[in-house]
Symmetry: C2
Amino acid sequence: MKDGLDALFNAASIVVVGASPRAETPGGTTASQLVKRNFSGDVYLVNPKYREIEGRKCYASVEDLPGPADLAVIAVAARHVLPVLRQCAAGGIKGAIVYTAGFGETGEREQARAQEEMQEIARSSGMRIMGPNCVGLVNNARNLWATFAQPPLFEDGLQPGSLGIISQSGFFGIAIYQLAAYNGLGFRYFASVGNQADLSFTDFLAYMVEDPEISVICAYLEGLKASEDLLPLARRALSLKKPLAFIKVGATEAGSRAAQSHTGALAGSEENYAALFRQTAITRAEDFEQLVAYLHISLMERPPRGRRVGIVSVSGGGAVMLADKCGRSGLAVPDLHPDTLARLDGMLPAFATSGNPLDLTGQALEEPDLFGRALEAMLEDPGIDVLLVSYHIHVLLCWMALAKIRECYPKTDKTIIVIGTPLGEEDDVRALIKETRRIGVPVLQDMNYAIWALSSYADWWDKAKSYQDQALPGKGPALPPAEREGLTEYESAALLRPYGLEFPRGTLAKTAGEAKEALSRMGGAAVFKVQSPQILHKTEAGGVKAGITTPEEGEAAFAEITARARRYREGAEIHGVLVQEMLEQGQEVIVGMKRDEALGPVILFGLGGVFVEVLQDVALRVAPLTPPDAREMVEEIRGHKLLEGFRGSPPLDVEALIELLLQVSRFSMENPDVLELDLNPVFVYPRGRGLKVADALVIRRKN
Amino acid sequence: MKDGLDALFNAASIVVVGASPRAETPGGTTASQLVKRNFSGDVYLVNPKYREIEGRKCYASVEDLPGPADLAVIAVAARHVLPVLRQCAAGGIKGAIVYTAGFGETGEREQARAQEEMQEIARSSGMRIMGPNCVGLVNNARNLWATFAQPPLFEDGLQPGSLGIISQSGFFGIAIYQLAAYNGLGFRYFASVGNQADLSFTDFLAYMVEDPEISVICAYLEGLKASEDLLPLARRALSLKKPLAFIKVGATEAGSRAAQSHTGALAGSEENYAALFRQTAITRAEDFEQLVAYLHISLMERPPRGRRVGIVSVSGGGAVMLADKCGRSGLAVPDLHPDTLARLDGMLPAFATSGNPLDLTGQALEEPDLFGRALEAMLEDPGIDVLLVSYHIHVLLCWMALAKIRECYPKTDKTIIVIGTPLGEEDDVRALIKETRRIGVPVLQDMNYAIWALSSYADWWDKAKSYQDQALPGKGPALPPAEREGLTEYESAALLRPYGLEFPRGTLAKTAGEAKEALSRMGGAAVFKVQSPQILHKTEAGGVKAGITTPEEGEAAFAEITARARRYREGAEIHGVLVQEMLEQGQEVIVGMKRDEALGPVILFGLGGVFVEVLQDVALRVAPLTPPDAREMVEEIRGHKLLEGFRGSPPLDVEALIELLLQVSRFSMENPDVLELDLNPVFVYPRGRGLKVADALVIRRKN
């Protein structure tokens, strides 16, 4: 894969097919961008209409090129795309970018077929294809602008950095690199993935995750295809400590409607994406404002390593608002250390109060040294990770503040972040912000986005700092579709037991006689449950009877529940009755799995009863689960206090529950023909005493 | 009250005590503001140091004035403030504004005493006093700038409108009127309330609520004093359909710490403020950005009358994001009417999809008429209340869009709102925004704040449109403090029964003999509960025994629980045993009341068991409750489905529950010596069968 994408991002030579002297055409823009930006490799132009374009030779066809090119940019009419691609593949070209629209996104059969053909060409030739219907790609470190998108408006912010950008929408992708340039956030790679006939979103993501030049990746995502596998990539990024920040649209019905009309990607269930993002600490930005704020924080040279915030304000009540916002966003605004307080008391005027937030009042502006010493004292407080300084004042005073920040910054290893837009002349404000950023301190002009980004980054770091790669169950081989969908409890348990799940003792009795015998072997009370693949919800059918002890009761119960089952569903195939030990009552929980078309098995956990049914209090994660994922699921639900020993009851066996979630995860991975799993209820007992799965239902992919 | 504040806002003559030729002093600023802004009344200057200031006569003292003034602005050193106030009161001045700091806010005893003295002067003379420690007040419609705050930076946005501003912080108040001027949101009144020695936050609020010139009031609030009564004022504003938008800080511990060091106001519990705001649809802005967006919406000439949003975008994927945000914020982005879809299908190019959101793609920009006709079609759709149009494009194209909006606007009665900042020359952008606003269409540059404001305004309108003034229980007379705090269940029930609360039948038995007798009269099983003011939690003390039927059991139970109670709390005063009918089990709920120092009685409702104890699933409202308040409480909790008849069980008697909440509200209002009330549990029965209060505990204010 790396080699395949290298042919795009690190092409030594590029041929533009459909080059044109008209700058407003895609081919014309690309040719002129490559030439004007001094792309370091060779550029060939192809168009049978021209002999020469702006003094450069123009070839009639790819076949006429003097030598092989690494990358072909294809900007020809839709009907010419497939022939050109075949010529490219035949000519040994390693990668192709197809700008042309009018394929899968039209929803028309013939056009979709043409797109499948592209995939075929890629597969058979080894030439990787990007698009169709994309705006191209950029490697800003090599002046490789293989795109017809509008050129950057803010060239002075274009120095290449370590940011990678991937987008499923040309419009959004362009907006992101424009914003990156405007904010001086040096971006390196940009890829607009288009219809993903061959190269997909996760192919580009994988390339950037592994590229050591990339430290942060942001993306605009509408949906993944079933063949993509985001989870392991997101985990790989975590283990490499590379933050991922995605804008994922389609969270609401109307948004989803619009997203589907905009691209052709499949969209998995919104809750499942949210679970995957939470699980792997992919930061989900809701818009460009949040995204840019997050990029400022994550790309800074000294990003925050904790969530304990100190606040220094000179703007009166502003400190209160900032502190409230931090508190609401899960950041801490701790009390200062007594030594810090004593230092501040010694320097502040009588009417200012030492503390965090520290409101220096207007006085500080008349005494720059006071401001500097207060900064120093806050930065040296052992309980503070990040210092927020407010620029909500006149730009001239900010320059003074900056001078003091510049003095303090090299003496500390803590993070300093400036918040706010100064008042004053626009040019001066811009110069101030640029200079502040130059010394390594980001300036976030909007308080809300700043606090959101800081808190999101802290969430990511909490997960990334301790994340360890680990062996996880892989996917099992695909099985032929099953003959029937639903398995009985007995059949389900048989499939699940090898994974370590604990079921009650039980025997499948085919006759009343066998039932009596099983009952006597059991010793003690039993529950009888009818087993029929047509009756998956046994209780509703009257197919369950509990508290059976004597042979007579056993015989009667067998007859009764099988008769009821037959009445409930005419022609139901009755495999028999499961004679099962009665379980001691424990805390009811529910564990389930449902396979998401795009994301794979999604595991569900919740408490039984009102918690799931009234409150929808459930935790979701995408399999394969890590042990920390499973623990987070258990701790995430609102009702988790009930598991910890509530009101004098003993704490429950949470470790057994975590183990169960991991078993279900492995089962779901290794049995790709299982579409759904429902363990409901599971009884969890006090710590050390494990749990029992009191009922189980497996649904397979049907023929 | 109106007359008192009229002397300030509508003073015919103003005397500035502490006037100065030095413009940087508070007295100097005020004098020059009044003169330069052409205040329409008389201005007198007082300062013994000068004979004349900038050509105007300066008097040595208030006593030397040629005639009485309505309003005195006092800008003298703290030690002179009280003598000057006494002179003003003696001279028949009706209102005074005290800028001077160094009173209650210092936390020093002597200074606080001086502030109390001001209150005394106000009370005895009838002269109303604003401040001390305030930046003054403005009536922008009369050029009355009785403030030393910095003059407005954006004079061209200063035309007086219908916005009132009240602030407990000078800094924030000034920031708000600056922003109002910058955004062309015509404000009329501004008041910085300072330490509120006499005139308080709610005095100013009451004045503005009743003033017909004011249509929207915004405020910065840190906390209320016990003597203030926000709830009836907020209700009055609702019935007059005047939106209130408050920034209320102190929501988190750190914020609250900082807020208290900033002013001297009391701060009630955050949850209780949140309840009052929800109850009366006071919009709570978290910051200036939200506040300004809300003011744009609420001050527009044709504000939205519904939450069904149509979206028209020309910026590619932008429509998706906008639709997602609307959906997440409780706005609807409905499907279009089939006729609208057909109209759009007829006009759109093939690659654009008719629907809501409507993404016209770049094409629309090349065909202005297409854009105009699409706008018209969307506006005529009966299912759309508000049309959002995106300005996320180049300013030149926006001018084209504006031309079409201008054509459509007079033909519809629906709301149009423009969202986004166009790209392009700053001056041109500013002119475009101004022109758009001029025709009646607000421009909200940030999508997030816009959607938040739109949704908050829709929430307010939902409440305001149907709000009706109604008679509510008033406060009862203050009672002398009680001799003891806690009442037994029997005593509590006796206090509560007259309010209509339904308790089980029961008798207080002082001896075992009386208990037996009560039991036989009861007929059927009873529960015995020990009654002791020292044992308020009877079950913990082993003081409850249920299921008692025979005289022998009765005798034994009496002996047993009284003995247990004596062991549990030595010296406990035992009033006897409550012999009570056994209640049929119903759905457990909890109803409580706790008196907030600043806000008064706060009523709590929740379901019993895990809902309150594990999930903190409760609803709070400030008394007196209206019937809709009570209904909202019942519907607000997450577990409310359990009351509606869950999984085949019958729906419960929600009307009886609402009645109970209203009874508790009246009880709490009329018994100001009751600090807390706990009805736990209450059993609610199926619809039509009422409820029973199974236990009650009243806590009174103790001597």
